[in-house]
C-alpha cells in the first residue's frame, strides 16, 4: 500500500523532470546550430529564411508584463489591504468569491472580452492621437490592450497572496500600535505593510509569472506582429504567442525546434521566478 502510494506521489517529480527534459531535448539542436547567444539576442525571426532570433518576442513579453504589473499591482494591493484591514465582514464575504470567480474565468474569455471591448476603444484613441493618416498603428491590437487584459488576469493571484500575507501579521502588533494612538492607516503603513513585505513581493512576482506564461488572452489582443515596439500602441508578439501561433504549421526540423527553444526560455524563466517567490514567501511570512 505504502509503496503504491509512494509511486503515485513521485509522479509529480517525474513530470517536472520529464517536461524540462523533453522540451530541452527538442529545442536544444537549434540553439546549438545558431548559437545560444544568437538565438536569444537575434533580432530577426524569419523561419522561411532560416533566421531564428527570439529577441523581439522577449521584448514583447517583457513590455506586456511590465504594463500589466504597472496597471494591476496597485489595484490588487489596495484591494488586498482593503480586504485584510478595512472591509466590513459582509463585503468580504461578497468579494472573496468574486476573486475566486475572476481566477476561474477561462483565458479565452478574457481574450474575447479584450478583442471586442478593449481593442476597439484603443483603436479610437489611436485615431484621435495619431490622426487618421498614420498607417499600421491603428488596429488597436497593442501592448496596451494586452497589458490591460493581463492586469485583470493577475489580480486574483496578487490579491489573494497579499491578503494572506497581511492577515498573517500578528494581531498583538496591530493592537499595540492602535493602543499607542496610531490611526488605522498609520498602523497599516508602519506596522502591517513592513511585516508583510516579503509576502507582498512574492505576490507581485507570482503575478509576473502568471503574466509571462499567459497565452490565449495575449494572442487574441496583442497583434502578434514580430518586431520591436515603438510605443504602447504598437502590436507585439509574446514568447507564448510565438509558440501557439506557429506550432500549428511549423514543419518538423529547424522551425519546430526553434519553437521548442522558445519553450525552453519560457520554462527556465518561469521556474526561476517561482522558485524565487517560494523562497521569500516561505521564509518571510508564516503562511499556514
Amino acid at each position: 500500500m505504502r509503496k503504491i502510494l509512494f509511486l503515485c506521489a513521485v509522479l509529480s517529480i517525474a513530470a517536472v523532470i520529464m517536461i524540462g527534459l523533453f522540451v530541452f531535448v527538442e529545442g536544444y539542436p537549434i540553439m546549438h546550430k545558431v548559437g545560444f547567444f544568437n538565438f536569444i539576442f537575434g533580432k530577426v525571426w524569419s523561419p522561411s529564411e532560416g533566421l531564428y532570433g527570439i529577441f523581439p518576442m522577449i521584448v514583447g513579453t517583457f513590455s506586456i508584463t511590465l504594463g500589466a504589473l504597472v496597471l494591476g499591482v496597485p489595484l490588487s494591493i489596495f484591494t488586498a489591504i482593503f480586504l485584510a484591514e478595512y472591509a466590513p465582514k459582509k463585503f468580504e464575504r461578497l468579494i472573496n468569491p468574486a476573486i475566486e470567480l475572476l481566477a476561474g474565468i477561462p483565458s479565452v474569455i478574457y481574450g474575447l472580452f479584450g478583442m471586442t471591448m478593449i481593442v476597439p476603444v484603443i483603436r479610437e484613441i489611436q485615431k484621435l492621437y495619431f490622426g487618421r493618416g498614420a498607417s499600421q498603428m491603428q488596429s488597436g491590437y497593442s501592448i496596451l490592450a494586452a497589458a490591460i487584459i493581463l492586469s485583470i488576469m493577475i489580480c486574483p493571484t496578487v490579491i489573494s497572496v497579499t491578503r494572506d500575507a497581511l492577515k498573517s501579521v500578528e494581531n498583538e502588533l496591530k493592537a499595540g500600535s492602535l493602543a499607542l494612538g496610531a490611526t488605522q492607516w498609520q498602523t497599516t503603513r508602519h506596522i502591517v505593510l513592513p511585516k508583510a513585505k516579503s509576502g507582498i513581493i512574492a505576490a507581485v512576482v507570482l503575478g509576473m509569472g502568471r503574466a509571462i506564461g499567459e497565452t490565449m488572452a495575449v494572442i487574441m489582443v496583442a497583434g502578434n506582429r514580430v518586431g520591436f515596439p515603438e510605443s504602447i500602441f504598437s502590436p507585439v508578439r509574446s514568447l507564448t504567442g510565438n509558440i501557439a501561433i506557429e506550432m500549428a504549421y511549423a514543419a518538423a526540423g529547424d522551425h519546430s525546434q526553434a519553437l521548442f527553444g522558445t519553450g525552453i526560455v519560457l520554462f527556465i524563466v518561469i521556474m526561476a521566478i517561482n522558485a524565487f517567490a517560494l523562497r521569500i514567501y516561505g521564509k518571510g511570512v508564516n503562511v499556514k
Binding site: 513530470a15 489595484l75 475572476l102 492607516w185
Partner: protein, 279 residues
C-alpha cells in the same frame, strides 16, 4: 487633524479599489453573457457546426468537452488523492516529501503552452501508436499533469482537516492503517476532495493553449478516446480568431461562463453544507 484627513482619504481609495475589482468582474460576466445569450437555443446546443463553425451549433464541442473532462478527471483524481494520502498519512518530513511538494509547486507554475509542447513531443509524436496522435487521450494525459497539483493540494488540506480523534478511535477499535484510511479518513475528507475535483474540472474546461497542441481540435464528434476532439474553450478561440465568427464565439463563451458559474456555485454548496462535518 492631518492624520485624520489622510485616514479618510485612504479609506476612500481602498473602498474604490474593492468596488472596482467587483465592477471589473461584473462587467466581464454581464458583457459576455449579454452578447452571447441571444445565440443560445436548442439548435445551437444540439446541432453540428456548419461552414467551419460560421453557422449551426456547438454540439460536438459540448460532447468533446464532456468526454475530455471525464477522461482527465478519472485519470487524475485517483493519483492525486493517493498522493495526498501518502503525504499526510504515510510519510514524515523527509527528503522525498519535500521534493514532492516542491515539484508540485513547480508543476502548478508551468505555463500551459509549455505543457502543450511537452504533450506534443511525448504523447502526440513519440507515443503515437498508443495514443493515436492528436486525441482525447493525449490531451487528457497532458491535462492530468496540469491539474494534478490542484487535486493534491486540496485533498491534502481536506485530509488534514479531519479531526485526529477519528483516526485514533478507528485505530483503537483495532482497525489497521489501511482500513482507517479507506473507511474513516477519506470518507470524512470527501467534501473537501470533491471541491478540489470541481476546481480541477473548471481548470480543464477553461484551459486552451495546452490542448490546442495536443487535443487536435477536430470539429467532428469523437467516437473513441483515440480520436481528436475540441473543447468549448478551443471552439471560442477557433471561431473568433480563425473563422472570424464573433457571434458564434460569444454564444459559446456564454455557455462556458454559465457552466463555470454553476461549478462555482456547486463548490460553495458542497463546502457550506459539509463544512461542519470536517472542521
Amino acid at each position: 487633524m492631518k492624520s485624520k484627513t489622510i485616514e479618510k482619504f485612504v479609506k476612500v481609495i481602498l473602498w474604490c479599489s474593492g468596488i472596482l475589482t467587483l465592477t471589473i468582474l461584473a462587467t466581464i460576466l454581464i458583457y459576455i453573457i449579454s452578447q452571447g445569450i441571444g445565440k443560445i437555443n436548442i439548435e445551437f446546443l444540439t446541432q453540428n457546426p456548419r461552414r467551419m463553425g460560421m453557422e449551426g451549433g456547438i454540439y460536438p464541442a459540448i460532447v468533446g468537452t464532456f468526454y475530455f473532462t471525464v477522461a482527465t478527471i478519472f485519470m487524475t483524481a485517483p493519483m492525486g488523492i493517493a498522493t495526498a494520502v501518502y503525504l499526510t498519512q504515510y510519510s514524515r518530513e523527509n527528503f522525498w516529501v519535500k521534493a514532492i511538494r516542491f515539484a508540485n509547486d513547480m508543476l502548478s507554475a508551468v505555463p500551459s503552452i509549455v505543457f502543450g509542447l511537452f504533450g506534443l513531443a511525448l504523447f502526440v509524436v513519440k507515443l503515437k501508436p498508443l495514443t493515436g496522435g492528436w486525441s482525447i487521450l493525449s490531451g487528457a494525459l497532458t491535462g492530468m499533469l496540469m491539474i494534478l497539483p490542484t487535486i493534491i493540494r486540496t485533498s491534502e488540506e481536506a485530509i488534514k482537516a479531519v479531526p485526529k480523534e477519528y483516526k485514533e478511535a478507528s485505530l483503537a477499535l483495532g482497525a489497521n492503517n489501511e482500513q482507517t484510511v479507506t473507511r474513516v479518513i477519506i470518507p470524512a475528507a470527501m467534501p473537501g476532495i470533491i471541491t478540489g475535483v470541481i476546481l480541477a474540472i473548471g481548470r480543464v474546461i477553461g484551459e486552451t493553449a495546452a490542448f490546442l497542441l495536443t487535443l487536435g481540435g477536430s470539429i467532428l464528434i469523437p467516437s473513441s478516446f483515440f480520436e481528436p476532439a475540441r473543447t468549448l474553450a478551443m471552439h471560442i478561440y477557433l471561431t473568433a480568431m480563425e473563422v472570424g465568427a464573433l457571434d458564434m464565439a460569444f454564444g459559446t463563451a456564454a455557455v462556458l461562463i454559465i457552466a463555470i458559474l454553476i461549478l462555482n456555485l456547486v463548490t460553495h454548496v458542497v463546502l457550506n453544507r459539509y463544512s461542519g462535518v470536517t472542521r
